[in-house]
Amino acid sequence: MVFFVCAVFLFHPELRDRVAWQSALLVLGQAEAIMFVFCFLFVLYSVGSFLRSRKREFGVLLLHGMTVKQLRKMVFTENMLVGLGALGAGILGGLLTAKLFLMAGANLLGIEELSFHISPWSVLLTLAAFLLLFLSISSFTTMLLGSTRLIDLFQSGAKREGQPRFSKGLSLLAATLLIASYTLAVTASASTVKLRVVPVTLMTMLGTYLFFSQAGLAVIHLLKRNLARYWHRTNLILISNLSYRLKENAWMFFLVAMISTITFCAVGVFASVNRLSAEFDRDHPAEIGYVAKPGSNVSAGHLRQIREELAARGLAFHEEETDLLLAEVASTTLAGAPDQLALLSFSDYTKLVAAARMTTREEPPDAEGALVLMSSQREKLLLQEREPASYTLGAGGIRLDEEGVTQHVPISDYLTPELGDFRGGNFSGLVVSDATWEKLAPNFGRAVYTAFYTDAGLEATVDIAKNLTENGKMKYETGLDYAMAVSGTLFEVQRTTYGALLFFALLVGTVFFMSAGSFLYFRLYSDLDYDRRQYAALTKLGVTRREMERIVTAQLGLMFFLPVGVALVHSIFAFIALQSYLFIPIAWEACLILFSFCFVQGMYFYFIRARYLRNLQKGYL
């Protein structure tokens, strides 16, 4: 039963192998490694918990004269057999469903259908990895078995010791930590969010653990004090059981909450990143941008090629041409101290904005002022929040002070020297007033920017001027005489990359999530014996079946939804923090993802509940 779940697991990693010939090889490798480590821990845990539930059986075997060595050999062989079976079933299942996954993957990646290709290496790797895994785990298991004293084996799981204790101080600390980290997350701004990420995460983790191990018990203690409610019908049984369950399962709850949070966030982030594509138009206003560096003599040929290719595709287009000044920077307060800076005149800026069918009502900067030329909408928040820098330009020592940030991106960011850093945001250059631009013009070299605009969609320009670009772009920094960006190709590349990321995040996320659910199930299973006895006694006392189901449902519900609920709250705050960093609204994606995970968890809950009730009732009547 458990190994069925494991089998699902097992076939996932090798499925990943099979798609591995796809582009995102690196992501894949990492996912594979994570999966492996995770599988290891997971199988170790599940084997351990099943051995524990069989202690009595081992006791009987030992009592009848089996030596410890024989017992170990037996357990080892058992594990290996089950492991091999699961491995075989996993690979077989993987082979059978591979086509389905390939199709789903292809759909998500937005690429043509993947051929049904299974490399023998993927099978081999899976075999080797999991054989190793089962071998090492099988040899560990005897250690997991722990004491082999007969009396311990026979009396295992018979008693619950002591009332769960908790410390008020630690409970308060838990609440404080959680509230503090939530506050920090909510108030984080684009520039502070990166600084806060690590401490907030640590605080949340500690807070979560304390919440389950201490604060939960404190809450139950408070509930118990209210005798009128506590001693009301099934509450008595329910609440007193809860405190034990919380105490025994705090560590597991914590694990599940953390795993779920990570899953939610990862999938959420990748789903949101996918949305970035939607903003693509605004970052790359021209379908094709071309910058000829000063003194370039290849530009005429290149531009002619572009025009011809556009014409050959029958695309109507119009061109805009502007000059960019490449100013030498003598000194600046900007971090990173660049030595070159692209300058655009304000009238050219408005001209380019208008050419891309966007509108602006921005005011031109002062004579000594400048607007930061935004490189991408996603940098906007960072740029707006950082300290305005000032520059002293070489040859004449003219000083420019940043006054603000442009509303639009007139030029793709690949086409000019890149400025700034990840903390203050990247930008493409400065926009200065026409007068200042004219004044500076004689001193510096000029690059010529040619933009081609069409009204056809992005798809229309895919792969234009393929020989001039690498994956749709030729960065300014490349060192050639020109820089170039083809939006259609760029968009295609971005879309498939993000699609791949999302696809793998979803796969890994699902596996994580399922395993989190399975942890809960194991936990239940190891308590089953005890519960069965308790419920048998309760039935004799005249607890009706419906009351029993109510108690079980409430208990299971808590076990299933408390950690996931905590994970949900964590993720919501994480998304809020993330929102302050991203300029696009991600609420919709976040809601969708959280909702679908909740839905899956709900289904899982009903499934497990039905099973568990049936198992319980097998014990009595």
Binding site: N235, K540, V543
Partner: protein, 256 residues
Amino acid sequence: MPILQVREISKIYEGKISTKALDHVSFRMEEGEFVGIMGPSGSGKTSLLNVIATIDEPTSGTVCIAGQNPHELDQERMALFRRRRLGFIFQHFNLLDTLTVEENIVLPLTLEGTPMQEMKRNAADLAERLGIAGVLDKFPHEISGGQMQRTAIARAMIHHPSLLLADEPTGNLDSKSSRDVMEAFAMVNEAKRAAILMVTHDAFAASFCHRVIFIKDGSMYNEIYRGDNRQAFFQKIIDMMSLLGGDTDHLSSARL
């Protein structure tokens, strides 16, 4: 009206080899009576108790408790019937170890939604009489076996059931605790006029009863009444047991 009327009960366990656990057993119990059931292992004592307790169904015959046949009820009502009309005491106590002694005692009342004050008062009253008032706040694992069984008696008694059913209540106790528990039974029987039906192996425990019914191989074998002298009653029980054989010393009567 008898509190318990058992008429012609038979119980056959179906299987590859059908076994007849009970064969036309009939007896009745009056209100306030304290009845013991004894018999060798496998004689059908526990089957009889299970049938009376509505945990198991008879193959034929009827059980009537306080004028009602619980086997005619559906599952839900049967559970409610157990909860309201019957009290149970087990060999292994079956206390919930997540609950304190006091909470264990009031458990049947909480299920009914009884007012708080009444529960407190009843629990305190019973605990006082049973000599466990001092351990009300303790958990089951912190108290002795005798105290646990007296807690179980209090739990079985708190809702004033028509009939108290006890299955080997002294089976897990030492002699001192056994005496405490049996005296507790005698006390609740006298003070509360509670009818008690007890299955036991223990002649000493049985000597507290008014009447002991002996069964063998699923049929009524004999019954003896206490009269005034418990010591003499005890001796009679011992004699009857050795006649029945196989119980205390696990030797068959044929070999004696």
